[in-house]
Amino acid sequence: MCPETQERVFSAKPENVASVTEFVSAIAEKAGIHPKRLLHLQLALEEAVMNIGSYAYETPPGELLVRVTTSAGRFVTELIDEGKPFDPIAMDTPNLKAELSERKIGGLGIFLLRKVMDEVHYRRQDGRNILTLVICM
């Protein structure tokens, strides 16, 4: 199977979680992704798009380019923004054993994203953040 790429530009804002998820899910379903992994993908997309939509741009909304590549055994989603440099992989794991009164929710989304994806990569290139989410099929 030759790699096949589809992409679409969205406005980088939290309200666009549903449209980004819909765009990528339709391709994933067509590629025959397992329903359980589809939920993982939707979770990772929601967490990533919420982050980019909320924090990437000083003067929001900027652009979010979503590029999906399907190849043999791999389903790859790239989220590309031109916002300030942000490496989610470098974030500390939140304290998951904290008592209720000390429990903070910040960082949990990125933690979940990393848990449910098979691979997560980040690179800064030509003034863009490129976050790559990979599911092995």
Binding site: H40, L43, E99, L100, R103, I105, L108, F111, L112, V116
Partner: protein, 111 residues
């Protein structure tokens, strides 16, 4: 997201159907404020038909737990499966919110 509520022996059982995320979270938060607006509220969130939860959804559950613990109320969740169970467990929420197999045992647990 659909929500149904019923009263079982003084405990409010809230069944959340579908998805609890950044799209539906605000509606859930607004409704939950009403449920908690009684003295010593005891609430069970029945997740048996909840397919999907994100960190936004977890945040709403955490906020409820904190609010209820400040007002001598109680919150429990039940019926976890699939992604919801996975997300709740890896986030360590099972150590701060009581979890029961089903609504019946959760209601007894909050008596």
């Amino acid at each position: 997201m659909d929500i149904t509520t019923r009263n079982d022996s003084g405990v409010m059982v809230v069944k959340v159907i579908g998805r609890l995320d950044s799209v539906t979270g605000l509606e859930f938060e607004e409704k939950s404020a009403e449920w908690m607006d009684i003295a010593n509220a005891r609430i069970v969130i029945d997740c048996s038909e909840l397919e999907y939860i994100s960190s936004y959804g977890l945040r709403t559950l955490l906020a409820m737990t904190k609010k209820l613990s400040d007002s001598c109320g109680k919150l429990a969740i039940c019926g976890l499966s699939g992604l919801v169970q996975e997300v709740v467990t890896v986030s360590g929420f099972d150590t701060i919110i009581p979890i029961f197999d089903d609504a019946e045992t959760a209601v007894s647990g909050l008596q």
